[in-house]
């Protein structure tokens, strides 16, 4: 059974428009001008139970709006959706028992109280019995390494520590699906790694489905098998992460160092030379146009190689390229 089925979902917002300055403000009072913004345009996709699906796109692409419709908070202008068999905006409360949500930019833990208080409150809200809640808290403490943090007021936790507690809190009622809206926003590398490890573990051990929005390609690489890239409210790309890499990660960056000086007129056909130093060269090429083998043999013909580094461009660049190319 699919965890999420979305068909042609559409959301239009009306926003008041107003030019700068006092005069325009006065005019807007009497004659407001509205402009409509299509935040999400006829979006359709599916997600299987237990899948980890990445929902990637730049700011304002419609990721959060989609998540909010899937949790039933926003009513779509048009289209249909089913989440775990429920129509979210019609059966929000029933659905709420089976999903967890984290909106990375806002806290759900009570700010002035230790996280443990929110955890026990959530236990009651989700109608778990106290013993079950306690057992679950113990388990989550271990999975998210938060045992030492639980009794500190949330406001005194670091962002990374808080986010681990936030995600753990959203898993308290053993949801079948969690919707994470930018869970790694603002975190440092180590904190991101922590969160990703814990999410991956929960997915593997409990089979909880994860729909994750992010504009960090690292989240994608670390967690998701499949990715949907959205821009301007539309899907511009949908495929496995491995395919995304294979199809779009076709450029290679190569750095070589030679034992002797490099000739100043160093040049190779089909290869872009980025930099020529005294002993080293930096170059870039597209594997579809110039085979790796050809480049390598050329490079070794030039002289005695001392060192060589081959790297892929960061996934961010790849995604940016997909944005520009538009809908596939």
């Amino acid at each position: 059974m699919s965890a999420i089925e979305v068909t042609n979902i559409h959301k239009t917002f009306q926003t008041k428009r107003k030019a700068a300055g006092l005069r325009a403000s006065t005019r807007a009072l009497f004659k407001p001008e509205y402009s409509t913004v299509d935040a999400v345009r006829k979006l359709s996709f599916q997600m299987e139970a237990g899948e980890v699906l990445g929902f990637i796109g730049p700011n304002g692409a419609g990721k959060s709006t989609t998540i909010k419709m899937l949790t039933g908070i926003l009513h779509p202008t048009d289209g249909e959706a089913k989440v775990l068999g429920y129509v979210p905006w019609k059966e929000r409360q029933k659905l709420a028992f089976h999903i967890g949500t984290v909106f990375g930019q806002r806290p759900q833990l009570w700010y002035h109280l230790p996280a443990i208080d929110t955890f026990t409150l959530f236990g009651k809200i989700y109608e778990l019995d106290d013993r079950e809640t306690q057992k679950r808290i113990d388990f989550l403490c271990e999975a998210f390494e938060i045992r030492d943090l639980l009794e500190t007021p949330v406001r005194k936790l670091s962002l990374g520590q808080r986010m681990r507690c936030e995600v753990a809190a959203s898993l308290l009622h053993r949801p079948k699906l969690i919707l994470l809206d930018e869970p790694s926003i603002g975190l440092d590398v180590v904190a991101k790694q922590h969160i990703r490890d814990a999410i991956r573990r929960m997915n593997q051990e409990e089979g909880v489905g994860v729909l994750l929005t992010s504009h960090d390609a690292g989240d994608l690489e670390a967690l998701c098998k499949r990715v949907i890239i959205v821009n301007h409210g539309q899907i511009v790309y949908e495929d496995k992460v491995s395919n995304l890499k294979r199809k779009h990660l076709t450029t290679k960056l190569v750095e070589v160092r030679y034992a002797q000086e490099v000739p100043a007129d160093f040049h190779l056909d089909g290869v872009e030379i980025l930099k020529v130093g005294r002993y080293g060269v930096k170059l870039r090429f597209d594997t579809n146009q110039t085979p790796v083998d050809t480049v390598m043999s050329h490079l070794s013909n030039v002289g005695e190689l001392v060192d060589i580094t081959i790297s892929d461009p960061p996934l961010e660049e790849v995604i940016a390229k997909v944005y520009k190319e538009g809908p596939a």
Binding site: F13, I73, I99, D117, K124, P153
Partner: protein, 261 residues
Amino acid sequence: MRKYFAVFTMQIINNLAYPGDFLGRSISIGIFLFIFAGLWKTTFTIAGTDSINGLTFANMMWYLMMAETIELGRPRINRIISEQVKNGEVAYILSKPYNFVLYHFSFGLGDGVMRIIVNLIVGLGVTWILAGPPPTALGWAMALVTMIFAWILHFCMMALIGLAAFLVEETNSFELIYQKLVFILGGMLLPLDMFPVWLQQIARLLPFPYMMYAPARLFVKPDFDLFWQMLAGQLIWVGILVFALSVAYRGSEKMLTVNGG
């Protein structure tokens, strides 16, 4: 019900997180009472009488104490809802399995109970010093019963104003108008007994006296006839406002736009 009770206790715990701030806020009731004691004393002296429209200086002071306690203890739910709509936190509140309005009721009650208890203690002490001993046990009983319904009425009004935040985001101005209506027609500034009869009659057709005048007046001059009248009025208005609130909630749910993200 267990979950709503949990939210209620959670908000009490939350209030206890900053006891200093919490107690500090209760100083204001002492200041109000002190100022009004001076005002009323002068008024009674100039008028050269012990009672105005049946109310003595001590009556006026205890009336004011009860009215202030209710005013300071009424829920501020509209501010919380508009804050949550503005910063997007409403997304969490709505994505949990509870009723949005009942959640806010429990939350507001947690605040209200704490404030009312502290204000009653401070108010009792200050008024006792300024105006002599408090009213009888019957007065306390009638005040406490009508106070519960007064609080519910306040909640409904504030929640209705709060739901407007789903549309307009900022609701302070509505609250201000509402507050002034309670000040005057609710009999907060002056007991309704001081008004001309025609104005008293108009006021009694509105919900405001049942939110403020009822408990405060019954407190200082307990009277069974008035008690039943006021209780009946309160129940009718609770019915009307609860109905209005449920209609408004269903309507505004669809209008919500969540900021940010």
